[in-house]
């Protein structure tokens, strides 16, 4: 029997800055020199991850509650968005398998 997969907390990379501009988010990755625009839901997630480290499930629950969408839809949208942020190197994992912070 396989062990259950532990869900790690994630947070916004310390190299990323963001700003709310008229309800959308502008993200800047200082090292990569990339600028990303995200919608209101993306901004909500970025703001949450900027405040504290959260698991993907916690984020999905927060999105479902804030935007009044069903849990499955929120889970899938959050997963997709986090994948995009990981691709932009905008996330870092907290308490990775080695016990320390892991890059995202």
């Amino acid at each position: 029997m396989s062990e259950p997969t532990r869900e790690y907390k994630i947070r916004l990379s310390s190299r990323v800055r963001f700003r709310d501009v008229a309800g959308q988010g502008v993200l800047v990755h200082l090292e990569e020199g990339r600028v990303l625009v995200v919608n209101d839901v993306g901004l909500f997630i970025v703001q949450a991850l900027g405040r504290q480290a959260m698991t993907e499930s916690e984020l999905a629950a927060a999105v479902a509650q804030a935007f009044v969408v069903d849990a499955a839809r929120a889970q899938s949208d959050v997963a997709l968005f986090l994948e995009q942020l990981r691709g932009e190197k905008a996330l870092q994992t907290v308490g990775g398998p080695d016990g320390g912070p892991a890059g995202g």
Binding site: R17, R19, V21, A22, G23, Q24, G25, V26, V28, L30, E31, G33, V35, L36, V37
Partner: protein, 287 residues
């Protein structure tokens, strides 16, 4: 604006620099009084010794920049500079070049001055924007865009149509009591100003902002404020990757795009300057 007093120059170097940057450098015999920045120029102890590829970013030459306890250290292919102060304090700088003749040449000095201008202007609530700046019907229009977006081509079309070109590479935007104004700076790209004569000081009311892109046909569409901020942010050199300066820069850009919405402008090779301006003005009026 930004006036830089450079000390430690020979009379010949001073004359050459003054010739290239008259409005920004005190002339021979003038004192440093009223300068925004006092820079001490000198020689490096030895060559920088870094390969040219270390100074490449996005396909363009970009001096290396890092914050230290003493301020901002800038290393170029053939110069090293230190920038300190800012905020309430006046900026102070030192500039050391590999060869004495480098101080009289535009390359090292211009790259240094571009960075100095970017920080100084931001401290004063303005911004330096990679853009083609053209004067049309008495107002300045800025066309920002990545390298090869068509800034120099648009500048050539504007000049051929009789419009004044402020710069095809970089322009300065300041918020003043009566709105935003564009100031000419002494930096150009491929398109060199053929000694144009501007009335007054080369300052014009900001007429509009566009994000320039190459396209198969002429298109113009308003951008959402966040897209506008993001688009312009990539065109704010030297300060847009500095975590200490980014909040101020974002504030300035957010205010700017709320005043002057950014138009995404797709321009084809054969589009005339008049057609480009007509599309930009029509779109701006409908925002």
């Amino acid at each position: 604006m930004c006036r830089v007093s450079i000390q430690g120059l020979t009379p010949g170097q001073r004359q050459t620099i003054f010739h290239n940057y008259q409005q920004y450098i005190p002339g021979p015999g003038e004192t440093a009084g009223g300068s925004d920045l006092i820079c001490l120029a000198g020689r490096l102890d030895g060559p920088i010794g870094l390969p040219p590829e270390r100074f490449a970013a996005g396909g363009q030459y970009a001096p290396l920049k890092r914050r230290t306890s003493g301020g901002i250290e800038i290393t170029g292919f053939d110069f090293r500079a230190q920038l300190a102060g800012g905020g309430a304090e006046p900026l102070r700088a030192s500039l050391a070049v590999a060869g004495e003749e480098d101080l009289g040449r535009p390359f090292a000095l211009e790259n240094f001055l571009r960075i100095v201008f970017a920080y100084h202007v931001l401290n004063r609530g303005g911004l330096l924007l990679h853009s083609a700046g053209v004067v049309y019907r008495g107002a300045a229009y800025l066309f920002s865009g990545r390298s090869n977006a068509g800034k120099s081509t648009l500048s050539r079309k504007a000049a051929a149509a009789g419009a004044a070109v402020l710069s095809d590479d970089i322009n300065l935007v300041y918020r003043e009591d009566d709105g935003y104004h564009v100031h000419r700076v002494p930096f150009t790209g491929e398109f060199r100003r053929p000694g144009e004569s501007f009335s007054g000081s080369g300052t014009f009311r900001l007429g509009g902002l566009a994000l320039l892109e190459k396209a198969p046909a002429l298109t113009a569409a308003p951008m959402q404020p966040a897209e506008g901020v993001a688009g312009l942010l990539t065109g704010c050199p030297y300060v847009n990757d500095d975590p200490e300066e980014l909040p101020a820069l974002m504030d300035i850009l957010t205010r700017l795009v709320s005043h002057a919405p950014v138009i995404r402008l797709g321009v084809a090779r054969d589009d005339s300057f008049e057609a480009i301006m007509a599309a930009l003005l029509r779109c701006s009026e409908n925002v």
